[in-house]
C-alpha cells in the first residue's frame, strides 16, 4: 500500500518525464530515422530558441507574472544585432559605411537591448503596479513596431561568418545553439535555486505581502525578474539570427506562447511560487519531440497545432490535480 503511494507520488511528480520518454520510445519504434544522432541533435537545436525563452519565462511565472512581449523583444534584438553583424560583402548594408565589427559587438547589443526592454517591463510592473499581462501586452506591440521601423520592414542578411558559427557551427560535435541552450539552463538553474535573488523570487510569487514584511525588496526583485527575461530574449535572438544568418522584423511571432506552454507543461504554476528549470527544459523538449515526430510521420502542420493545443491543456489539468491533491 505504502509502496504503491510512493510510486504514485513519483509518477505525479515526474509524470511529464514519463510522457516524454514514452513519446521518444514510440517514435523510435515507428520510425527508425527518429533515432539517429542527427535527428536528436536536430530536435535539441529546434527547441533551443524557445527553450531559452522558456527558461526566463520560468523565472517570470515563479514570481507570479507573465511576459507576452518576449517574441517581439527577440525580433527587435535580432534585427539590431544583425545590423551590427553584417558582412562587408552584403549587397544591402544597414550601415552603409561601417566596417565589419567583431562578433562581440552584435552579441552585447542584442543582450543590452533585451535587458533594457525587460527592465522597462519590470519597471512598469514594479513601480506603477499595472498587471504584468497589460504591461507586457503593450511592450509586445511596441517592440514589434520598433523592429519594423528599424528595418523598414526588410530583412537584414549576409552576416559575418562568426555569426553563422553561432547558429550552425559545432563545439565538440554539439551544435552551438544546443551549447548555448545548455549554458543558459545552468545559469538559470543557479540563478533560481542558488542565489538570494532566486529564493526571493519564489517568495514574491508565493506571497508578495509576506515577502514585503520579511524585508524583501519586492520592486527590485520584479525589476530583475523581467530584466533577466529580456536578456534571455536577447540570447535567443542571437541564436535565432545565427541559425538563419539573417534577421527580419516579423521573427518569433507567437514564441511567447510557446515559451509559456513549455514552462506550463513542465509544471510551473501560474499561481506563483512553484516551478523548476528542468520542468521548462522537459516542457520545451516535449513540444520539440512532438513537432519533430509529427513531421516525420507526415502529419499535416495544421493538425499539429491542434494536437499541441490539446497537449498543453491536458498537461495543465494534470498539474492542477497534482497540486490539488497536496492541498
Amino acid at each position: 500500500m505504502k509502496h504503491q503511494n510512493r510510486l504514485q507520488e513519483i509518477f505525479t511528480k515526474y509524470g511529464i518525464v514519463f510522457v516524454l520518454i514514452v513519446m521518444i520510445i514510440a517514435m523510435s519504434m515507428i520510425k527508425p530515422s527518429f533515432r539517429t544522432l542527427n535527428n536528436i541533435l536536430n530536435i535539441l537545436t529546434q527547441c533551443s530558441v524557445y527553450g531559452i525563452l522558456a527558461l526566463g519565462m520560468t523565472v517570470v511565472i515563479v514570481s507570479k507574472g507573465i511576459d507576452l512581449s518576449v517574441g517581439s523583444i527577440l525580433a527587435l534584438c535580432a534585427v539590431i544585432a544583425a545590423s551590427l553583424g553584417q558582412s562587408s560583402t552584403a549587397s544591402t548594408k544597414y550601415f552603409a559605411n561601417m566596417a565589419e565589427l567583431p562578433i562581440i559587438v552584435p552579441i552585447l547589443a542584442g543582450l543590452l537591448i533585451g535587458a533594457i526592454c525587460g527592465a522597462i517591463n519590470g519597471g512598469l510592473i514594479a513601480f506603477t503596479g499595472i498587471p504584468a499581462f497589460i504591461a507586457t501586452l503593450g511592450m509586445m506591440t511596441i517592440c514589434r513596431g520598433f523592429a519594423y521601423i528599424y528595418t523598414s520592414g526588410k530583412p537584414v542578411s549576409t552576416l559575418i561568418p562568426s555569426f553563422e558559427f553561432i547558429g550552425q557551427g559545432r563545439l565538440l560535435g554539439i551544435p552551438m545553439p544546443v551549447v548555448i541552450y545548455l549554458g543558459m539552463i545552468i545559469i538559470t538553474k543557479i540563478l533560481l535555486n542558488n542565489t538570494r535573488f532566486g529564493k526571493r523570487t519564489f517568495a514574491v510569487g508565493g506571497n508578495i505581502n509576506a515577502a514585503e514584511v520579511s524585508g524583501v525588496n519586492v520592486k527590485k526583485i520584479l525589476l530583475w525578474v523581467y530584466t533577466y527575461m529580456g536578456m534571455c530574449a536577447g540570447v535567443a535572438a542571437i541564436v535565432s539570427t545565427g541559425r538563419m544568418v539573417s534577421a527580419q522584423p516579423g521573427l518569433a511571432s507567437g514564441y511567447e506562447l510557446t515559451a509559456i506552454a513549455s514552462t506550463t507543461i513542465g509544471g510551473t504554476s501560474q499561481s506563483g511560487g512553484i516551478g523548476t528549470v528542468w520542468g521548462a527544459v522537459v516542457g520545451a523538449l516535449v513540444l520539440s519531440v512532438m513537432r519533430n515526430g509529427m513531421t516525420i510521420l507526415g502529419i499535416q502542420s495544421y493538425l499539429q497545432q491542434i494536437v499541441e493545443g490539446v497537449v498543453i491543456i491536458v498537461a495543465v489539468i494534470l498539474d492542477m490535480r497534482k497540486n490539488a491533491r497536496k492541498a
Binding site: K199, A211, E212, V213, S214, G215, V216, G272, I274
Partner: protein
C-alpha cells in the same frame, strides 16, 4: 418515530482525513427553534462537523437525522434545499454586483423568454430584506456595504432558502457592539419563527447572551452539552481546554535591563496619535485594546510597514530612520504579523524557505551563492530548539498545523537575531496545546534579553504574559499600566472602552 423531537440529530459522527481522525464519534442534537452554541479551541472539530452537516465533506461513519428523516450522501446544494444553510466566517460576496444578484445567485428568477427577470428579483429581494429589517436598496453594490450589512445579506439569503437550520460561524467577529445587538435581534426573531440556529463563537460572553444550549468540543469529541444557565464561564473554559486557566501562562519574572526601544509622540495620518512608550531589555510589553483601536497600526508603523506623520523612534539611545520593513530588520526588529495566511507564510514553499527568507545573507558561500547545506543546518537548529513538528524541512508549510506554522514564523524572525520582537496576536487561530508552547517560547526569549512587544485581543493572554500594558482606545493611548496581581480584565476594559483615560 421518536427521533422527531429534535430538528437535527447527529449520531456518533466520525470523520477521517488521511492520517488524522478529525471527528471521533461526535453527537449533536439541536431542537426546533433552539439557539445552540458550539465552542471549543480551533481544531477541536466544530468546523469539520459543520462541513459534514452542510454536505461539503462526506462523513466516514455515523448517522444524520434532519426533520425526522435520515439523510445521507447529499451535496451542499441538496442541503440548502432541505433547509440547512451556513453563513461562513469569511464572507465571499460578489463585491461588484448588486445585493439582489448576490441573494439569488444560482437561482435567478427567469421571465418567459428564459432571461433574468430583474423586476421579479428586485421585488423578492425587497421582501426578504424587509424581513430582516435591512434598509438597503437591493440594487446597491455589495462593495458599498459594511461587513455587518454583508452579513445581514447572507442571513437574508439563508432565510430566502426557507432554512430550518442556520449555521453561523463566528458571525460577530467583524461586528461592532451595536451591530452585534442587531444580529442578536434577528436571531431572536428567527428563533420565534421556529428556525434553529447553530452558533459558533469564541466569545463566551455573547454565548451567554444568545444561546439556549451549548456543546463544548475538544480534540474531535463533544465533551459536554448543557443548557446555558447550568454553566459558568469558567466551567466552559475548563471543559474547552481540559485544564484550568492558570496553568497556561508560564510567565517567569526576568531581569529587566536598560531601555532598548523608545517611541516618542508617534502619530499616523489616520490610525493613531501621540503614542509614547519605552520597552526595556527582557521586558514583555503588552498592547491591549478593542479591534480598530490602532494597536496593530502602531507596531506596523514602528517596523516600517506604514508611514508616520510625526514622532520619533529611538533604538538603543539612537534616533532610527525606518521607512520600510527592510529598515526595520536592519534595526534588529522582527515582526510576527496578525494574519498568518495573508502576510506571514509562503503557503506553497517549504519550511526551510519560510524560515530562511529574511536570512539568506547569513548563508552565502564565498562566491555569493546560497549555501543550501548551511541553510538546512541553520533551519534544523531552530526546528529542534522550538520543537517544530514537520516531516521534513522541504514540507510545504501549508500542510502544517496552525501552531506549527506559527512556530516556523517565530523561527524566521529569531534567525534574524532581533533585539526587538513585535508579536501581533501571536496565538490567534492555534490550538491550546500550541498556545502554551508559544507562551513558553515568548518567556524564554524575554529571559534571553529580547524586548517583546505583544498586541493581543485576548485579555487573559495580555494579563498572563505582560510586564507592562499599554491600553489604546480609538487611536489614543488611554493607559500605561504595571501588571500586578490586582490588575483585572475589567480595569483594562475600562481603559479600552475609553471609560477611563490617564492621558
Amino acid at each position: 418515530m421518536e427521533k422527531e423531537k429534535d430538528l437535527l440529530q447527529m449520531v456518533n459522527i466520525e470523520k477521517n482525513f488521511p492520517g488524522v481522525k478529525a471527528l471521533k464519534g461526535v453527537n449533536l442534537n439541536v431542537g426546533y427553534g433552539e439557539v445552540h452554541a458550539l465552542v471549543g479551541e480551533n481544531g477541536a472539530g466544530k468546523s469539520t462537523l459543520m462541513k459534514c452537516l452542510i454536505g461539503l465533506y462526506p462523513v466516514s461513519s455515523g448517522d444524520i437525522y434532519f426533520a425526522g428523516k435520515k439523510i445521507e450522501h447529499y451535496s451542499t446544494a441538496q442541503a440548502l434545499t432541505m433547509g440547512i444553510s451556513m453563513i461562513h466566517q469569511e464572507l465571499s460576496p460578489v463585491l461588484y454586483r448588486p445585493i439582489m444578484e448576490n441573494l439569488w445567485l444560482g437561482r435567478e428568477p427567469l421571465n418567459r423568454f428564459g432571461l433574468v427577470d430583474h423586476q421579479e428579483m428586485y421585488n423578492k429581494s425587497l421582501r426578504v430584506l424587509q424581513e430582516i429589517e435591512l434598509d438597503e436598496d437591493p440594487r446597491t453594490l455589495m462593495v458599498n456595504l459594511t461587513v455587518a450589512k454583508m452579513q445581514m445579506v447572507e442571513i437574508a439569503k439563508a432565510i430566502s432558502y426557507d432554512a430550518k437550520l442556520i449555521i453561523m460561524d463566528e458571525p460577530s467577529s467583524a461586528l461592532t457592539e451595536h451591530e452585534e445587538q442587531q444580529l442578536f435581534k434577528i436571531i431572536r426573531k428567527l428563533k420565534k419563527q421556529g428556525t434553529s440556529i447553530i452558533y459558533i463563537s469564541h466569545r463566551l460572553a455573547e454565548i451567554f447572551e444568545i444561546a439556549d444550549k451549548v456543546t463544548v468540543f475538544r480534540d474531535g469529541k463533544n465533551v459536554g452539552t448543557e443548557a446555558i444557565d447550568q454553566l459558568t464561564m469558567d466551567q466552559i473554559i475548563t471543559m474547552m481546554i481540559g485544564r484550568t486557566m492558570d496553568e497556561m501562562y508560564p510567565k517567569i519574572p526576568c531581569t529587566i535591563g536598560e531601555t532598548i526601544l523608545e517611541v516618542k509622540n508617534l502619530s499616523h495620518k489616520k490610525y493613531f496619535h501621540n503614542i509614547s512608550f519605552e520597552v526595556r531589555k527582557g521586558e514583555i510589553f503588552g498592547i491591549a485594546g478593542l479591534v480598530g483601536a490602532g494597536r496593530t497600526e502602531v507596531i506596523e508603523t514602528i517596523f516600517g510597514m506604514r508611514p508616520k506623520i510625526s514622532g520619533e523612534i529611538w533604538i538603543n539611545g539612537k534616533l532610527a530612520e525606518i521607512n520600510s520593513p527592510m529598515d526595520g530588520i536592519a534595526n534588529k526588529m522582527g515582526f510576527l504579523t496578525e494574519d498568518r495566511r495573508a502576510t506571514g507564510i509562503f503557503a506553497v514553499l517549504g519550511v526551510d524557505s519560510n524560515i530562511a527568507i529574511p536570512n539568506y545573507d547569513q548563508f552565502l558561500s564565498k562566491i555569493g551563492l546560497v549555501d543550501d547545506r548551511a541553510v538546512t543546518k541553520g533551519c534544523n537548529e531552530f526546528v529542534e530548539k522550538i520543537q517544530i513538528k514537520t516531516p521534513s524541512l522541504k514540507q510545504a508549510i501549508q500542510n502544517l498545523s496552525g501552531g506549527n506554522q506559527q512556530k516556523v514564523l517565530m523561527a524566521r524572525w529569531l534567525m534574524t537575531g532581533p533585539d526587538i520582537l513585535f508579536l501581533d496576536e501571536p496565538t490567534r487561530g492555534i490550538d491550546v496545546g500550541a498556545k502554551a508552547e508559544i507562551y513558553k517560547l515568548i518567556t524564554m526569549l524575554a529571559s534571553e534579553g529580547k524586548c517583546i512587544v505583544m498586541v493581543s485581543s485576548e485579555l487573559p493572554e495580555i494579563l498572563g504574559m505582560s510586564d507592562r500594558i499599554m491600553v489604546m482606545h480609538e487611536g489614543k493611548m488611554t493607559g500605561l499600566l504595571e501588571n500586578s496581581s490586582d490588575l483585572t480584565q475589567d480595569t483594562i476594559m475600562r481603559y479600552a472602552t475609553g471609560t477611563q483615560d490617564d492621558f
